[in-house]
Amino acid sequence: MSHYLHGIFKDPEDAQLAQQKLQKAGVECELISPYPLQEIHPDNGRSPVRKFSLIGGILGFIAGIILTTYSATSYILPTGGRAVISVPPFLLVSYELTILFAVLATLIGFLYHSGLPAWYERPHHEAASVDEIVVSAAFSDEQEDKVRKLLQDSGAERIESQTLVPIEPEHSLPEEDAK
């Protein structure tokens, strides 16, 4: 079982300070908020999602060129005096596929790096969906007092605990059967 303490803050800066103190003390914690905290995170760093967009776009363009030229040469249908492989219209189709693939790759990149979808139980407090900032800290039994004190000293309005039961594999055999 995993134990979590949620320190609930009104002030984002207090929550940020609490997170820093906990991290210094070697406690694993997350800052959960109802909106992105750009003010106290002036530089959140670059997201690897952008690489997905770029690679998706390049693959889309190549896919567009291959699709148009392959289909034109597989079924030759001269129309309007145009060349079988007509560059302007094929570039147009490739342009659309560039965007399509870039959008889909960005979506995949966002989901992958955010760890979504995750429909199982994770540390969470409903206050972080409304108007409060939650510092969610994982602790072992001997750390509880220290974590609680750190959160209180940092200005937490209240502290609540959550215990998560790890997900058992559905078809795990009883120990004796396994033997």
Binding site: P34, Y35, Y75, I99, H113, L116, A118, S129
Partner: protein
């Protein structure tokens, strides 16, 4: 729909918790008027759209008024109209996101939904227009036993590619932007709604890692969607402009269609905003200042649209090309001239009143103007099709076109389909972005704090 609750309009800025409560209330509280409106919309969609279309499928496409030389009629006009209406939602949302406009936040979600449902209705019109819609899968490129591949040199295939991409991108943009709000709805509801939002929110919690990746992904979507939206209506215009028909073969068609699309879409947003504000009691979020800004945008677009119309006519006129002159004469004085001049009145003359701030902040006047503009834009698409095709190069084929009752009925039914889809949307997806409105409120509060003497 009806006003939810008994609150009176309150001009004080809401608190963050109010935003959750007010938006979730729009999802959970349903009044009898909502059900009546929904029921009527479904009934009209079935009676005016599904049944006449079934009649057309059984009897044949001849029940519509299309015939040589007018082989495109009201269906293609409606297709272009609905594609156009889809334009401002995602495009405006993306442009305002990139430019960091705070006022976008209360209105963009519904605008994006408008985009998606307009696209759905537009695609339905393609199916209605073709004689044998069961063969529409022939436009999809895949290896098949027929050994046929679509012709990618045709503008119609550009259309298939562009609209598929636009629909996918718009749906993704809308869904990803809604994930944090689905999570807020999950935490604020119980029962089956809680289960539904649990699935839709994908397990979102609001950690800084999730926010960071969402911010980047969302900005990339916005950047990708802007050129896409411009390309989509350019491509729709090339369905016409790449032919040699007088009235169609115009180099100005791509910008003309794009400006027209944004114009009609912005007017559509005004209409949707009006009803959401009034019947969902969102007066504290959708402010007269939002209508004021949309009004300014409409005025600029109206002037651009008028300019392009003048250019379209004068270039044909200066050419002294006899068929161009015949087409211009037919458009200005022919069978559909009353519709043409109504279009000019609705889209070029009436919107000039938006120069007055009293008009822009009078919401009832804005509603009426937005409806007139969209009626004018529907006329525009109709006029383009029905005054060009009847006057092609062979005078012995000249003929007039008039839609039949089946076409009029399907046009009305398509509006009911759009209303039905939108009514379903406002009960499932938070119609206003919860987290972005909170950001706007915090931004305004900070701004006020800084400006205090």
């Amino acid at each position: 729909m009806n006003r939810v609750g008994n609150q009176t309009p309150d001009e004080t800025p809401p608190k963050l918790a109010d935003v959750n409560r007010d938006v979730i209330r729009t999802l959970t509280e349903t009044t009898p008027l909502y059900w009546w409106t929904f029921g009527i919309a479904v009934m009209v969609a079935v009676l005016c759209f599904t049944l006449p279309w079934a009649y057309q499928l059984v009897t044949g496409i001849g029940v519509a008024g299309m015939n040589r030389p007018v082989i495109w009629g009201s269906y293609i006009s409606c297709f272009i109209f609905w594609i156009g209406l889809s334009h401002s939602g995602t495009l405006l949302s993306a442009v305002l996101h990139i430019t960091g406009s705070q006022w976008r936040k209360a209105i963009y979600r519904s605008a994006e939904a408008m985009t998606l449902f307009s696209l759905v209705v537009a695609v339905i019109f393609v199916l209605v227009h073709v004689g044998r819609p069961w063969f529409v899968y022939w436009t999809i490129p895949y290896p098949n036993q027929r050994e046929l591949w679509p012709n990618f040199r045709s503008p119609l295939l550009f259309d298939v590619t562009a609209i598929t991409t636009y629909m996918t991108a718009s749906a993704t943009f809308l869904f990803v932007g809604s994930i944090p709000d689905f999570a807020a709805a999950r935490d604020g509801t119980i029962g089956w709604r809680h289960s539904m939002y649990r699935v839709l929110s994908l397990g979102w919690r609001g950690t800084q890692k999730e926010w960071k990746h969402l911010g980047w992904a969302y900005t990339f979507f916005a950047v990708l969607v802007i050129p896409l939206a411009v390309s989509v209506h350019s491509i729709v215009s090339w369905d016409l402009a790449l032919s040699i028909v007088p009235g169609f073969h115009q180099t100005i068609f791509a910008p003309y269609f794009v400006v027209g699309a944004i114009y009609s879409g912005t007017a559509g947003i005004v209409t949707v905003m009006y009803f959401l504000r009034k019947y969902y009691h969102l007066e504290r979020y959708i402010l007269p200042s939002h209508f004021d800004k949309l009004g300014r945008l409409l005025l600029v677009l109206s002037l651009l649209w008028t300019y392009i119309n003048i250019v379209e006519l004068t270039t044909g006129w200066f050419s002294h090309h006899s068929f161009e002159l015949e087409f211009i004469d037919y458009r200005l004085t022919g069978a559909w001239a009353p519709i043409y001049w109504s279009m000019i009145a609705f889209c070029a003359v009436l919107p000039l009143s938006l120069i007055s701030s009293r008009v822009r902040t009078n919401l009832n006047v804005m509603l009426v103007l937005s409806i007139f503009i969209n009626a004018g834009m529907l006329f525009e698409r109709f006029i383009i099709i029905t005054t060009s095709l009847p006057r092609k190069y062979l005078p012995n084929t000249w003929a007039d076109y008039a839609p039949t009752w089946v076409e009029y009925s399907i046009m009305l039914g398509s509006l009911a389909i759009f209303v039905t889809l939108f009514l379903i949307f406002v009960k499932i997806v938070p119609s206003m972005s919860i987290y972005e409105v909170k950001e706007e409120l915090l931004h305004n509060a900070k701004h006020q704090q800084e400006n205090k003497p």
